[in-house]
Protein backbone atom coordinates (compact mmCIF):
# COMPACT_ATOMS: atom_id res chain seq x y z
CA UNK A 1 0.00 0.00 0.00
CA UNK A 2 1.06 3.54 -0.61
CA UNK A 3 2.31 5.25 2.53
CA UNK A 4 -0.13 7.55 4.28
CA UNK A 5 0.84 11.14 3.70
CA UNK A 6 0.94 12.13 7.37
CA UNK A 7 2.06 8.91 8.94
CA UNK A 8 5.61 10.02 9.61
CA UNK A 9 4.36 13.30 10.98
CA UNK A 10 1.97 11.44 13.26
CA UNK A 11 4.75 9.12 14.39
CA UNK A 12 6.86 12.14 15.26
CA UNK A 13 4.02 13.61 17.28
CA UNK A 14 4.08 10.48 19.38
CA UNK A 15 7.73 10.79 20.29
CA UNK A 16 7.11 13.29 23.08
CA UNK A 17 4.14 14.21 25.23
CA UNK A 18 5.03 17.84 24.66
CA UNK A 19 4.85 17.50 20.88
CA UNK A 20 4.74 20.21 18.21
CA UNK A 21 0.97 20.57 18.27
CA UNK A 22 0.89 20.74 22.06
CA UNK A 23 3.55 23.46 21.91
CA UNK A 24 1.57 25.31 19.29
CA UNK A 25 -1.63 25.20 21.34
CA UNK A 26 0.24 26.37 24.42
CA UNK A 27 1.75 29.21 22.42
CA UNK A 28 -1.76 30.17 21.42
CA UNK A 29 -2.65 30.50 25.10
CA UNK A 30 -4.53 27.24 25.54
CA UNK A 31 -4.33 25.36 28.82
CA UNK A 32 -3.01 21.78 28.69
CA UNK A 33 -4.99 19.34 30.80
CA UNK A 34 -3.50 15.91 31.39
CA UNK A 35 -5.35 12.70 32.19
CA UNK A 36 -4.67 9.00 32.09
CA UNK A 37 -7.95 7.11 32.13
CA UNK A 38 -10.89 6.71 29.80
CA UNK A 39 -13.21 7.49 32.69
CA UNK A 40 -12.00 11.08 32.67
CA UNK A 41 -14.13 12.45 29.80
CA UNK A 42 -11.60 13.97 27.43
CA UNK A 43 -14.35 16.04 25.86
CA UNK A 44 -14.62 18.15 29.02
CA UNK A 45 -10.91 18.83 28.90
CA UNK A 46 -11.32 20.04 25.33
CA UNK A 47 -13.58 22.94 26.23
CA UNK A 48 -12.72 26.17 24.43
CA UNK A 49 -9.57 27.55 26.01
CA UNK A 50 -8.03 24.23 26.99
CA UNK A 51 -7.11 20.91 25.47
CA UNK A 52 -6.74 17.35 26.68
CA UNK A 53 -3.51 15.40 26.61
CA UNK A 54 -3.74 11.76 27.51
CA UNK A 55 -0.42 11.02 29.12
CA UNK A 56 2.12 8.71 27.58
CA UNK A 57 5.77 8.12 28.28
CA UNK A 58 7.19 7.01 24.95
CA UNK A 59 10.66 5.44 24.92
CA UNK A 60 10.82 5.23 28.69
CA UNK A 61 12.66 2.01 29.32
CA UNK A 62 14.37 2.59 32.63
CA UNK A 63 12.22 4.38 35.20
CA UNK A 64 14.82 4.36 37.97
CA UNK A 65 13.74 7.29 40.15
CA UNK A 66 10.08 6.37 39.72
CA UNK A 67 10.94 2.87 40.88
CA UNK A 68 12.32 4.36 44.08
CA UNK A 69 9.03 6.13 44.69
CA UNK A 70 6.52 3.58 43.43
CA UNK A 71 8.70 0.46 43.84
CA UNK A 72 9.41 -2.03 41.10
CA UNK A 73 6.22 -3.91 41.80
CA UNK A 74 3.66 -1.61 40.25
CA UNK A 75 2.89 -1.40 36.58
CA UNK A 76 5.52 -0.12 34.24
CA UNK A 77 3.08 2.35 32.73
CA UNK A 78 2.57 4.21 36.00
CA UNK A 79 6.27 4.15 36.73
CA UNK A 80 7.08 5.40 33.24
CA UNK A 81 4.66 8.29 33.60
CA UNK A 82 6.21 9.13 36.95
CA UNK A 83 9.71 8.98 35.52
CA UNK A 84 8.74 11.18 32.60
CA UNK A 85 7.13 13.63 35.01
CA UNK A 86 10.25 13.67 37.17
CA UNK A 87 12.34 14.31 34.06
CA UNK A 88 10.23 17.39 33.38
CA UNK A 89 8.44 15.86 30.42
CA UNK A 90 5.04 17.07 31.62
CA UNK A 91 5.94 20.55 32.72
CA UNK A 92 3.72 21.85 29.95
CA UNK A 93 0.67 20.63 31.88
CA UNK A 94 -1.50 23.23 33.54
CA UNK A 95 -3.62 20.67 35.33
CA UNK A 96 -3.98 16.96 35.81
CA UNK A 97 -7.52 15.64 35.99
CA UNK A 98 -6.96 12.57 38.05
CA UNK A 99 -8.99 9.47 38.75
CA UNK A 100 -8.57 6.71 41.28
CA UNK A 101 -9.59 4.17 38.67
CA UNK A 102 -6.55 1.98 39.05
CA UNK A 103 -4.23 1.99 41.99
CA UNK A 104 -0.97 2.47 40.18
CA UNK A 105 -1.93 5.49 38.12
CA UNK A 106 -3.72 6.89 41.14
CA UNK A 107 -0.54 6.80 43.17
CA UNK A 108 1.36 8.42 40.31
CA UNK A 109 -1.14 11.24 40.15
CA UNK A 110 -1.14 11.67 43.91
CA UNK A 111 2.56 12.35 43.67
CA UNK A 112 1.78 15.19 41.27
CA UNK A 113 -0.76 16.75 43.60
CA UNK A 114 0.19 19.63 45.86
CA UNK A 115 -1.46 18.56 49.09
CA UNK A 116 -0.15 21.22 51.45
CA UNK A 117 -0.08 18.82 54.37
CA UNK A 118 2.19 18.60 57.36
CA UNK A 119 2.26 14.84 57.10
CA UNK A 120 3.95 14.50 53.73
CA UNK A 121 6.07 16.94 51.83
CA UNK A 122 4.87 17.91 48.36
CA UNK A 123 7.25 17.02 45.58
CA UNK A 124 6.43 19.72 43.05
CA UNK A 125 7.10 17.38 40.18
CA UNK A 126 5.38 19.54 37.60
CA UNK A 127 7.39 22.71 37.45
CA UNK A 128 4.55 25.04 36.60
CA UNK A 129 3.15 27.56 39.07
CA UNK A 130 -0.33 27.26 37.63
CA UNK A 131 -0.43 23.49 37.89
CA UNK A 132 -3.01 21.71 40.00
CA UNK A 133 -4.20 18.13 40.24
CA UNK A 134 -7.80 17.32 41.03
CA UNK A 135 -9.32 13.90 41.69
CA UNK A 136 -12.75 12.80 40.54
CA UNK A 137 -14.57 9.86 42.10
CA UNK A 138 -15.58 7.48 39.34
CA UNK A 139 -18.50 5.07 39.84
CA UNK A 140 -18.16 1.33 39.42
CA UNK A 141 -21.59 0.83 37.92
CA UNK A 142 -23.82 2.21 35.23
CA UNK A 143 -27.10 2.69 37.04
CA UNK A 144 -29.07 5.87 37.57
CA UNK A 145 -27.37 6.49 40.89
CA UNK A 146 -23.99 6.33 39.19
CA UNK A 147 -25.01 8.71 36.41
CA UNK A 148 -26.13 11.28 38.95
CA UNK A 149 -23.03 10.81 41.02
CA UNK A 150 -20.73 11.06 38.04
CA UNK A 151 -22.43 14.21 36.81
CA UNK A 152 -22.04 15.80 40.24
CA UNK A 153 -18.41 14.76 40.41
CA UNK A 154 -17.60 16.06 36.95
CA UNK A 155 -19.14 19.40 37.75
CA UNK A 156 -17.38 19.73 41.08
CA UNK A 157 -14.00 18.32 40.19
CA UNK A 158 -13.54 19.04 36.50
CA UNK A 159 -15.67 21.92 35.29
CA UNK A 160 -15.60 24.18 38.32
CA UNK A 161 -11.85 23.89 38.91
CA UNK A 162 -11.20 24.62 35.23
CA UNK A 163 -13.36 27.67 35.49
CA UNK A 164 -11.91 28.83 38.81
CA UNK A 165 -8.28 28.33 37.86
CA UNK A 166 -8.29 29.30 34.20
CA UNK A 167 -11.59 31.06 33.57
CA UNK A 168 -12.68 28.35 31.16
CA UNK A 169 -16.22 28.75 29.87
CA UNK A 170 -18.13 25.76 31.29
CA UNK A 171 -21.58 26.73 30.06
CA UNK A 172 -23.79 24.22 28.29
CA UNK A 173 -23.07 25.98 25.00
CA UNK A 174 -19.35 25.58 25.50
CA UNK A 175 -19.82 21.91 26.32
CA UNK A 176 -21.95 21.45 23.22
CA UNK A 177 -19.21 23.03 21.15
CA UNK A 178 -16.63 20.67 22.62
CA UNK A 179 -18.90 17.69 21.98
CA UNK A 180 -19.30 18.75 18.39
CA UNK A 181 -15.57 18.89 17.87
CA UNK A 182 -15.12 15.63 19.75
CA UNK A 183 -17.74 13.93 17.61
CA UNK A 184 -16.02 15.05 14.46
CA UNK A 185 -12.84 13.39 15.68
CA UNK A 186 -14.86 10.27 16.45
CA UNK A 187 -16.48 10.30 13.04
CA UNK A 188 -13.16 10.62 11.25
CA UNK A 189 -11.43 7.97 13.35
CA UNK A 190 -14.34 5.58 12.85
CA UNK A 191 -14.36 6.29 9.14
CA UNK A 192 -10.67 5.54 8.93
CA UNK A 193 -11.04 2.54 11.25
CA UNK A 194 -13.85 1.02 9.24
CA UNK A 195 -11.42 0.21 6.46
CA UNK A 196 -10.15 -2.49 8.79
CA UNK A 197 -13.41 -4.33 8.26
CA UNK A 198 -12.69 -4.90 4.57
CA UNK A 199 -11.79 -8.35 3.43
CA UNK A 200 -8.40 -6.98 2.47
CA UNK A 201 -8.11 -3.92 4.73
CA UNK A 202 -6.61 -0.75 3.33
CA UNK A 203 -5.12 0.27 6.62
CA UNK A 204 -2.93 -1.66 9.01
CA UNK A 205 -3.51 -1.96 12.71
CA UNK A 206 -0.26 -0.11 13.31
CA UNK A 207 -1.28 2.86 11.16
CA UNK A 208 -4.63 3.03 12.85
CA UNK A 209 -3.05 2.77 16.29
CA UNK A 210 -0.83 5.75 15.47
CA UNK A 211 -3.77 7.78 14.18
CA UNK A 212 -5.92 6.96 17.19
CA UNK A 213 -3.10 7.90 19.55
CA UNK A 214 -2.45 11.27 17.97
CA UNK A 215 -6.14 12.02 18.38
CA UNK A 216 -5.74 11.40 22.11
CA UNK A 217 -2.53 13.28 22.77
CA UNK A 218 -2.84 16.32 20.51
CA UNK A 219 -5.17 19.30 20.76
CA UNK A 220 -8.25 18.32 18.80
CA UNK A 221 -8.55 21.51 16.83
CA UNK A 222 -4.99 21.16 15.60
CA UNK A 223 -5.07 17.49 14.72
CA UNK A 224 -8.45 17.64 13.01
CA UNK A 225 -7.19 19.00 9.65
CA UNK A 226 -4.72 16.12 9.44
CA UNK A 227 -7.40 13.58 10.30
CA UNK A 228 -9.72 15.04 7.69
CA UNK A 229 -7.00 14.81 5.08
CA UNK A 230 -6.14 11.26 6.10
CA UNK A 231 -9.80 10.22 5.93
CA UNK A 232 -9.97 11.69 2.45
CA UNK A 233 -6.79 9.92 1.44
CA UNK A 234 -8.19 6.62 2.69
CA UNK A 235 -11.08 6.79 0.26
CA UNK A 236 -8.78 6.09 -2.64
CA UNK A 237 -6.14 4.03 -0.95
CA UNK A 238 -5.63 0.73 -2.72
CA UNK A 239 -4.75 -2.42 -0.82
CA UNK A 240 -1.81 -4.57 -1.77
CA UNK A 241 -2.89 -7.05 -4.40
CA UNK A 242 -1.61 -9.92 -2.31
CA UNK A 243 -2.78 -10.09 1.26
CA UNK A 244 0.19 -9.57 3.51
CA UNK A 245 -1.35 -11.05 6.61
CA UNK A 246 -2.24 -14.59 7.61
CA UNK A 247 -5.11 -13.89 9.95
CA UNK A 248 -6.99 -11.02 11.52
CA UNK A 249 -7.22 -10.40 15.22
CA UNK A 250 -8.90 -8.20 17.77
CA UNK A 251 -6.39 -6.80 20.22
CA UNK A 252 -7.96 -6.40 23.65
CA UNK A 253 -6.60 -5.71 27.07
CA UNK A 254 -5.12 -3.17 29.37
CA UNK A 255 -3.27 0.08 28.81
CA UNK A 256 -1.51 0.11 25.45
CA UNK A 257 -0.14 3.23 23.85
CA UNK A 258 2.71 1.51 22.09
CA UNK A 259 2.09 1.22 18.33
CA UNK A 260 5.25 -0.84 18.06
CA UNK A 261 3.44 -3.56 19.96
CA UNK A 262 0.79 -3.62 17.24
CA UNK A 263 3.57 -3.61 14.67
CA UNK A 264 5.15 -6.60 16.41
CA UNK A 265 1.89 -8.56 16.17
CA UNK A 266 1.45 -7.63 12.56
CA UNK A 267 5.03 -8.62 11.85
CA UNK A 268 4.03 -12.12 12.88
CA UNK A 269 1.24 -12.25 10.32
CA UNK A 270 -1.77 -11.20 12.42
CA UNK A 271 -3.44 -8.03 11.22
CA UNK A 272 -4.90 -6.08 14.13
CA UNK A 273 -8.34 -5.05 12.92
CA UNK A 274 -9.87 -3.93 16.17
CA UNK A 275 -8.40 -2.22 19.22
CA UNK A 276 -10.40 -2.78 22.37
CA UNK A 277 -7.90 -1.70 24.98
CA UNK A 278 -7.30 1.38 27.08
CA UNK A 279 -6.26 4.07 24.56
CA UNK A 280 -8.05 2.12 21.83
CA UNK A 281 -10.84 3.53 19.67
CA UNK A 282 -13.66 1.08 20.36
CA UNK A 283 -15.03 2.98 23.32
CA UNK A 284 -13.31 6.33 23.10
CA UNK A 285 -14.46 7.09 19.59
CA UNK A 286 -18.14 6.41 20.03
CA UNK A 287 -19.79 9.77 19.31
CA UNK A 288 -21.52 11.42 22.23
CA UNK A 289 -25.25 11.83 21.77
CA UNK A 290 -26.74 14.91 23.39
CA UNK A 291 -30.31 14.01 24.22
CA UNK A 292 -33.18 16.44 24.40
CA UNK A 293 -34.24 17.24 27.94
CA UNK A 294 -30.93 16.32 29.49
CA UNK A 295 -28.05 18.63 30.21
CA UNK A 296 -24.95 18.07 28.06
CA UNK A 297 -22.98 17.22 31.18
CA UNK A 298 -25.50 14.58 32.16
CA UNK A 299 -25.30 13.08 28.66
CA UNK A 300 -21.53 13.00 28.88
CA UNK A 301 -21.63 11.33 32.28
CA UNK A 302 -23.99 8.67 30.97
CA UNK A 303 -22.00 8.22 27.79
CA UNK A 304 -18.75 7.37 29.51
CA UNK A 305 -20.38 4.95 31.92
CA UNK A 306 -22.44 3.27 29.24
CA UNK A 307 -19.66 2.83 26.72
CA UNK A 308 -16.95 1.57 29.00
CA UNK A 309 -15.85 -2.04 28.81
CA UNK A 310 -13.37 -1.65 31.62
CA UNK A 311 -13.04 -4.69 33.89
CA UNK A 312 -13.36 -2.24 36.75
CA UNK A 313 -17.11 -2.30 36.19
CA UNK A 314 -18.76 -4.53 38.76
CA UNK A 315 -22.44 -5.23 37.98
CA UNK A 316 -23.07 -8.85 37.16
CA UNK A 317 -24.77 -8.16 33.84
CA UNK A 318 -21.86 -5.90 32.84
CA UNK A 319 -19.21 -8.42 33.83
CA UNK A 320 -20.84 -11.01 31.65
CA UNK A 321 -21.92 -8.79 28.79
CA UNK A 322 -18.46 -7.50 28.08
CA UNK A 323 -17.34 -11.01 27.08
CA UNK A 324 -20.07 -11.09 24.50
CA UNK A 325 -19.23 -7.59 23.32
CA UNK A 326 -15.70 -8.74 22.65
CA UNK A 327 -16.97 -11.72 20.70
CA UNK A 328 -19.31 -9.41 18.78
CA UNK A 329 -16.38 -7.20 17.88
CA UNK A 330 -14.51 -10.18 16.47
CA UNK A 331 -17.54 -10.90 14.32
CA UNK A 332 -18.02 -7.29 13.26
CA UNK A 333 -14.41 -6.94 12.20
CA UNK A 334 -14.18 -10.42 10.66
CA UNK A 335 -11.41 -11.37 13.04
CA UNK A 336 -10.13 -14.91 13.26
CA UNK A 337 -9.12 -14.65 16.88
CA UNK A 338 -8.45 -12.43 19.82
CA UNK A 339 -5.20 -11.41 21.45
CA UNK A 340 -5.70 -10.43 25.05
CA UNK A 341 -2.77 -8.57 26.49
CA UNK A 342 -2.51 -7.39 30.04
CA UNK A 343 0.26 -5.25 31.39
CA UNK A 344 2.31 -6.86 34.08
CA UNK A 345 0.98 -5.84 37.51
CA UNK A 346 -2.38 -4.73 36.07
CA UNK A 347 -4.76 -6.46 38.44
CA UNK A 348 -7.96 -5.72 36.57
CA UNK A 349 -6.75 -7.19 33.34
CA UNK A 350 -4.88 -10.09 34.90
CA UNK A 351 -8.22 -11.48 35.99
CA UNK A 352 -10.20 -10.37 33.00
CA UNK A 353 -7.65 -11.98 30.72
CA UNK A 354 -8.03 -15.33 32.48
CA UNK A 355 -11.78 -15.40 32.18
CA UNK A 356 -11.83 -14.02 28.63
CA UNK A 357 -9.35 -16.66 27.59
CA UNK A 358 -11.66 -19.44 28.71
CA UNK A 359 -15.03 -18.04 27.83
CA UNK A 360 -14.21 -16.70 24.37
CA UNK A 361 -12.77 -20.03 23.34
CA UNK A 362 -15.30 -22.25 25.05
CA UNK A 363 -18.53 -20.35 24.51
CA UNK A 364 -17.81 -18.33 21.39
CA UNK A 365 -15.35 -20.60 19.57
CA UNK A 366 -12.77 -17.88 19.20
CA UNK A 367 -9.07 -18.73 19.31
CA UNK A 368 -7.43 -16.65 22.00
CA UNK A 369 -3.82 -15.72 22.55
CA UNK A 370 -3.37 -14.63 26.13
CA UNK A 371 -0.23 -12.74 26.97
CA UNK A 372 1.28 -10.56 29.65
CA UNK A 373 3.39 -7.65 28.50
CA UNK A 374 5.34 -4.66 29.73
CA UNK A 375 4.54 -1.06 28.93
CA UNK A 376 7.54 -0.93 26.65
CA UNK A 377 8.05 -4.32 25.15
CA UNK A 378 11.64 -5.19 25.63
CA UNK A 379 10.78 -8.91 25.64
CA UNK A 380 9.76 -8.78 21.98
CA UNK A 381 11.55 -12.02 21.10
CA UNK A 382 9.40 -14.07 23.46
CA UNK A 383 6.26 -12.28 22.38
CA UNK A 384 7.08 -12.82 18.71
CA UNK A 385 7.32 -16.56 19.35
CA UNK A 386 3.93 -16.53 21.07
CA UNK A 387 2.27 -14.59 18.25
CA UNK A 388 3.80 -16.75 15.56
CA UNK A 389 2.55 -19.88 17.30
CA UNK A 390 -0.89 -18.33 17.63
CA UNK A 391 -1.04 -17.40 13.96
CA UNK A 392 -0.07 -20.95 13.04
CA UNK A 393 -2.74 -22.39 15.31
CA UNK A 394 -5.36 -20.17 13.69
CA UNK A 395 -4.19 -21.29 10.26
CA UNK A 396 -4.36 -24.93 11.29
CA UNK A 397 -7.87 -24.34 12.58
CA UNK A 398 -8.81 -22.86 9.23
CA UNK A 399 -7.36 -25.85 7.41
CA UNK A 400 -9.27 -28.21 9.67
CA UNK A 401 -12.45 -26.28 9.05
CA UNK A 402 -11.77 -26.44 5.32
CA UNK A 403 -11.58 -22.68 4.92
Amino acid sequence: MKDLKHLIYFENLLQEANNDLVKQAKAEGKRAIGYTCYFMPEVLLDLPGCFSARLRAPRCTSPDIATYYLSGRVCHYARSLMERALEGGYNFLDAQMATETCTATCRFQEHLQQKHLDSVEDMRIIDNDDFFCEFTDIPFKNNENSYQHFETQLRAHVLEPLHEHFGIDISDDAIRQAVEEHNEVCRLINEIGDYRKLDNPTITGYEFHVIQLVSLVCPKYLILPYLRETAEEMKTREPDTRKNFRCKVVLAGSENDDPDFTKLIEGCGALVVCDRFCYGAVESRVPIVLEEGKSPLRCIAEHYLKTSNCPRFMPQDEMRARKKRLADLAKEYNADGVIIASNKFCEYWSYERVIDTFILQRDFGLPVCSIEKEYINSASGQLRTRFQAFVESVEIKHIQEGK
Partner: protein
Protein backbone atom coordinates in the same frame (compact mmCIF):
# COMPACT_ATOMS: atom_id res chain seq x y z
CA UNK B 1 -18.90 -47.57 105.11
CA UNK B 2 -16.31 -44.94 105.93
CA UNK B 3 -13.59 -47.23 104.68
CA UNK B 4 -15.50 -47.79 101.46
CA UNK B 5 -16.01 -44.07 100.99
CA UNK B 6 -12.37 -43.43 101.75
CA UNK B 7 -11.36 -46.06 99.24
CA UNK B 8 -13.63 -44.52 96.64
CA UNK B 9 -12.26 -41.09 97.30
CA UNK B 10 -8.74 -42.37 97.10
CA UNK B 11 -9.52 -44.12 93.85
CA UNK B 12 -11.19 -41.01 92.51
CA UNK B 13 -8.24 -38.92 93.56
CA UNK B 14 -5.82 -41.38 91.96
CA UNK B 15 -7.75 -41.34 88.70
CA UNK B 16 -8.01 -37.56 88.85
CA UNK B 17 -4.30 -37.18 89.46
CA UNK B 18 -3.42 -39.73 86.79
CA UNK B 19 -5.73 -38.10 84.24
CA UNK B 20 -4.23 -34.71 85.00
CA UNK B 21 -0.75 -36.13 84.81
CA UNK B 22 -1.49 -37.60 81.39
CA UNK B 23 -3.08 -34.34 80.33
CA UNK B 24 -0.06 -32.46 81.56
CA UNK B 25 2.28 -34.72 79.62
CA UNK B 26 0.21 -34.19 76.46
CA UNK B 27 0.14 -30.45 77.07
CA UNK B 28 3.73 -29.97 78.12
CA UNK B 29 5.32 -32.06 75.39
CA UNK B 30 3.02 -30.68 72.71
CA UNK B 31 1.84 -34.20 71.92
CA UNK B 32 -1.40 -32.89 70.47
CA UNK B 33 0.58 -30.71 68.07
CA UNK B 34 2.87 -33.56 67.15
CA UNK B 35 -0.01 -35.91 66.49
CA UNK B 36 -1.78 -33.35 64.34
CA UNK B 37 1.32 -32.36 62.42
CA UNK B 38 2.74 -35.81 61.81
CA UNK B 39 -0.35 -37.97 61.50
CA UNK B 40 -3.64 -36.15 61.17
CA UNK B 41 -2.67 -33.40 58.75
CA UNK B 42 -0.81 -35.68 56.30
CA UNK B 43 -3.77 -38.04 56.35
CA UNK B 44 -6.25 -35.25 55.69
CA UNK B 45 -4.05 -33.65 53.07
CA UNK B 46 -3.85 -36.94 51.27
CA UNK B 47 -7.62 -37.21 51.43
CA UNK B 48 -8.18 -33.68 50.08
CA UNK B 49 -5.58 -34.16 47.35
CA UNK B 50 -7.27 -37.30 46.13
CA UNK B 51 -10.78 -35.98 46.46
CA UNK B 52 -12.77 -35.87 43.28
CA UNK B 53 -13.63 -32.28 42.51
CA UNK B 54 -15.86 -30.58 40.03
CA UNK B 55 -13.99 -29.10 37.08
CA UNK B 56 -15.02 -25.54 37.78
CA UNK B 57 -13.81 -24.38 34.39
CA UNK B 58 -16.75 -26.22 32.92
CA UNK B 59 -19.16 -24.07 34.92
CA UNK B 60 -21.71 -22.37 32.69
CA UNK B 61 -21.34 -18.68 31.97
CA UNK B 62 -24.62 -17.60 30.52
CA UNK B 63 -24.44 -14.00 29.46
CA UNK B 64 -28.11 -13.19 29.97
CA UNK B 65 -28.92 -15.52 32.83
CA UNK B 66 -29.42 -12.82 35.42
CA UNK B 67 -31.30 -9.55 35.12
CA UNK B 68 -29.84 -6.14 35.82
CA UNK B 69 -30.19 -5.63 39.54
CA UNK B 70 -31.11 -1.97 39.40
CA UNK B 71 -33.48 -0.30 41.80
CA UNK B 72 -33.54 3.23 40.42
Amino acid sequence: MCKKLGKFLLKFLAIFVAANAVLFVVFFFDLDGKLLFNVVEPFLKDHYDKMERKDTLKSPYDIDKFPKYKYD
